[in-house]
Symmetry: D2
Subunit: 349 residues, 4 copies
């Protein structure tokens, strides 16, 4: 398959956080879930209890649909609340706009992603305000959703204040707020706030809760904060082949992930490693940060020679699509101190 | 979630083969795959080697796309080779027609499933011949695919002869042959033929290779026997959220499954248990088989009182939608001899 | 373009009612509408007044959306009230199932047309009752609409009683009733009832009101009897390219058509000509009616030699797809007495 | 219906060119076409001859599909040559992006319109070059079409040189060139070049040929310069309800329009009137042109008081959505000298 990552390079570490396996607690949960005969399609006990566990974490009765991919979560969430002629406002760098091969358009039946320039990786209220319009005019696609990514594609994290300001505009126009939380945990521990504060208390209506990158195998969840937004989602899940028959295995991953603060522990570690890496790079004086390091991603402008050297050392430096010269480095739940040191040493050599 | 299976009953055994966990070899493969940092999106080594392993099994260079659900496999396979205005001929009982909430229609952009009455669970060449038509006339949806299910939804197995006869008509009209192999292994060991014989040697162009039911967690594969049919499939996979980032975990399941004849062993066991169950039921004289037991599903007409008794004993008897009074019993890779005996004893009490 | 009708034959009369031009009153209305500068997209006066005129005809405040084709009317009407995973129950011969190249599937985003065998060209309540099911089960496409064709594809006309019986079942299950009225006027004058009686008073929720065949150029209308069903229709119309900018020209056709009972006069004439033709054919004793002649279509089994003779005389005998040997003859608003005589004479020669 | 134009104002002249009726020659052609019994669905003689007539005009064997709306032409043309995951590069002001309620997305099954900022109303080669990319990477929607509007939405006209430069980039990357020619004739006479020069000789692959605005009732045409691009278009036309049964009436409009240079005469007149209007406005010194007047549209920045005065005089001044203060004035085939004078007099009062 044709993908962005060159398979011939050996050291894919720092290439992304999806190059990792599952953390021990999640693996353990999967092994444990393997026992016994249980009802399929999410009617097993693990899946059932998940609703309560997530409701506790979010301090609200939420509705949870486990899925196996982030693209599925995003596209399904958006399609549940947008008409086929809806406008979905998002940052031009956003995963839904750039990295899902048009999944939101496919699932919604043709909704339009309206790309906003933003400031760095974040949507600005000013631009959003100017973009929303055309209500009720049949010639125009109709404003329906604002989608933000937390943490953003640039490794930045929206403050609660920023989320609230965007939500306010969104709701004033009767649109809905979607959060792509592929790196939800990394943003959460970065802000040091509660899951409730970063979502529904700040105006989020529907969340793609990411878990794969931060320690699962293939487990995400659509989390709905308002029952009325469920709509046809159960049917859309089945209809798209995302209602797995042995759902217990996805649910078990999520269970292992959110139990005993495993997810927060993993995210804290990844963020710390990113900070260490970021600080180390900046201290060389040759390297400039492109965006502030606020979660587990580091964006730096590396001199061309440095990139070539790293590649010759078998690191896989994807020169970000965001900008030709910017390199993205990603840490994960299992990034080791010595791996960061080794990388920094390779750089300064 | 609203599904067909009542979660309150305890003994879901025999309710389906998707109530089971993974077999030990598959679980082991998953655990083993968890180690290390590897490229995502199917660019890992396990995924890479899979192409060769399947090619060996099918005695032909095949192209393999792992997926996490059978509905995804079917819908993606069909959408890769049908235009949006295509006719897909299938048995009226087929999973794609009845049990996928319209996934084929969604993925193809609106193709029409043409339901055939068939004989029991199988398509007949006579009816198929009479149904295909309207070529080139813009008013009519255009014949594009014939899809058969092996083993069928009634637990029967198409003979090689029958597959070939259907393929012949299909190809004579320049249509393509799809096989829904949700229970591929069960059919294969039932016929005691080679994977090649049951597929491309009999005219199958594209196969949904099922593995979940017969010992995996969530692993299926689209297998393409003619490179020209790949079309846009890589993009369709990504676009539908079915290109998992940590693909190694799906590939590992498939690897564990097809290595060392695990899949054949599992299927043989399941079929044997079905035979034992079927024989036991028929020997009561009160019970009639609805369809011959040729794989791992038993369809019987049970007296209403017997169903009630079984339910009272906490068995979960789904009264098949195929016909009000027919009960479906499914055995699996881990069905135990004593479980069959226990069930038969409950019946005859 | 590849269509069903062979263009080389000269005498396409009786081949269909869409081989005719517009009746004088409709042409006059179009010419009159050409004057002046008026607002586009249906905001002109003619379009505005149409709502009131149709409301008067139907004895109820209806909502009217003019369109330029029957396929558009049907597909748009169905898509306004069916989810993408809906079941639309219809006769297996119905235009939406057989003659629209999958337009309903396209517009609805993949709904499933469930073909019923019916009795002759009509749906039966018994079969309908047995087909509707699976409510709330995510594996199944969900019952949403029952669509009947009036007059039917076989030239028969549902009685009010029959419509009411079907509507009753439909509404009992909370589905909606659609009527494909491509030959609405012909059915209406055949039954000699009021437009209200044949529609909402008998349970019809949404109507495709045909006008093209019976004296217009390209004018149909979607007529909605319950405001709540309008849904997103205005956007769907625009989104599909069916909101014409110079809408006045479609509206003018409809205006000329429904004013001064032009439509009823045209339909009566066409039906009378069909009756005359039908009677003449039957009186030959060699020819048997396939279906009773109740509107403006005659279905007869002609001996093969007779078909060949007619074709040699340059008549264009489309051997109906419904059944190999059955020939369909259609009369129209402008069929002349002598044309019927000439045809009968050719037959008996 | 909810549209952009306020119906209460009386003088909609200058509001658009779709507020006009048909020119006498087109009306005459429609009346003439009404006679006789002819085959439906474009198999009539008028429709047949159209292929040759257009081929003569374009100095090349072209394939022509008449349609009844510009939105239909655009969406169908794009869907014939873009996959569902295609990128369609267009100006951010373009009709397909802003004014078709997402028709291209609907027809293509979810392709992505990539809006370019351009310079005034035109795409620039520089920006286009930077936008095309991501070939073969499954995560990204795939570059497929570049669409330009001639004349542009700002009333400007691409020079042949500009079209060729854009086409060169487009074809270098194996994309296809679409031209939205809603005001094709106005652009053509403005450039004073041949239809061939402005289209295939400059690299256009498929054209939406507009006729409605410039003197027809409801008639457009998809014109294909390369047979291989026809693809499934005949089926897509039928499937979307745009294959009218009495097609002769659309074909007749086109015939009357392109015969005897009617279309060129109409366009020249409209352009002249725009020039006169534009010159008159600029001469007031209070008014500045927003874009050069190169076809039949005038874009001016009017002082707020002037807009209010015009509206009080019952002119309908739609304050363009392109920019809050800019007013668009459109002339047509039937704009009268005295109407322009009257408007200018109202302004300067």
């Amino acid at each position: 398959m044709n993908t962005k990552i060159n398979t011939k390079r050996k050291r894919v570490k720092f290439a992304s956080d999806n190059v990792t396996g599952a953390c021990p607690e999640v693996l353990e949960a999967v092994i444990k879930a393997n026992d016994g005969i249980v009802p399929p399609y999410g009617n097993d006990e693990i899946s059932g209890v998940l609703q309560e566990k997530f409701s506790k974490i979010f301090e609200k009765d939420v509705i949870v649909y486990p899925t196996a991919s982030g693209t599925a979560s995003n596209a399904l969430a958006l399609s549940a609340i947008s008409p086929s002629f809806g406008n979905i406002y998002c940052h031009k760098f956003s995963h839904i706009n750039v990295d899902e091969c048009g999944a939101p358009e496919f699932y919604t039946g043709g909704a339009k992603l309206v790309p906003l320039n933003g400031e760095d990786g974040k949507i600005t209220t000013e631009e959003l305000k100017n973009s929303i319009g055309g209500f009720g005019i049949v010639h125009h696609t109709q404003p329906s959703i604002v989608s933000i990514t937390q943490a953003t594609e640039t490794g930045e994290v929206y403050t609660l204040e920023q989320i609230k300001n965007i939500s306010e505009i969104t709701h004033k126009h009767n649109l809905k707020m979607h959060m792509d939380g592929a790196r939800f945990a990394n943003a959460l521990v970065s802000l040091d706030v509660s899951p409730a504060e970063m979502t529904w208390k700040s105006g989020i209506d529907i969340l793609s809760f990411g878990a794969t990158k931060n320690g699962c195998m293939a487990a995400e969840a659509i989390i709905i904060f308002d029952k009325d937004l469920v709509g046809n989602l159960p049917f859309l899940l089945k209809r798209s082949g995302h209602l797995l028959s042995k759902m217990r295995f996805v649910s078990a991953q999520l269970d292992g992930y959110i139990s005993n603060d495993v997810w927060l522990k993993n995210a804290k570690h990844a963020n710390n490693m990113a900070k260490k890496l970021s600080d180390g790079l900046v201290s060389t004086n040759q390297i400039k940060l492109e965006y502030p390091t606020e979660a587990n991603e580091v964006f730096v402008r590396l001199p061309k020679k440095m990139v070539e050297h790293l590649n010759s050392e078998e690191y896989m430096m994807s020169q970000g699509e965001l900008d030709g010269k910017v390199v993205r480095l990603v840490t994960a739940w299992n990034t080791k101190n010595e791996e960061v040191n080794e990388f920094l040493n390779t750089i300064v050599k």
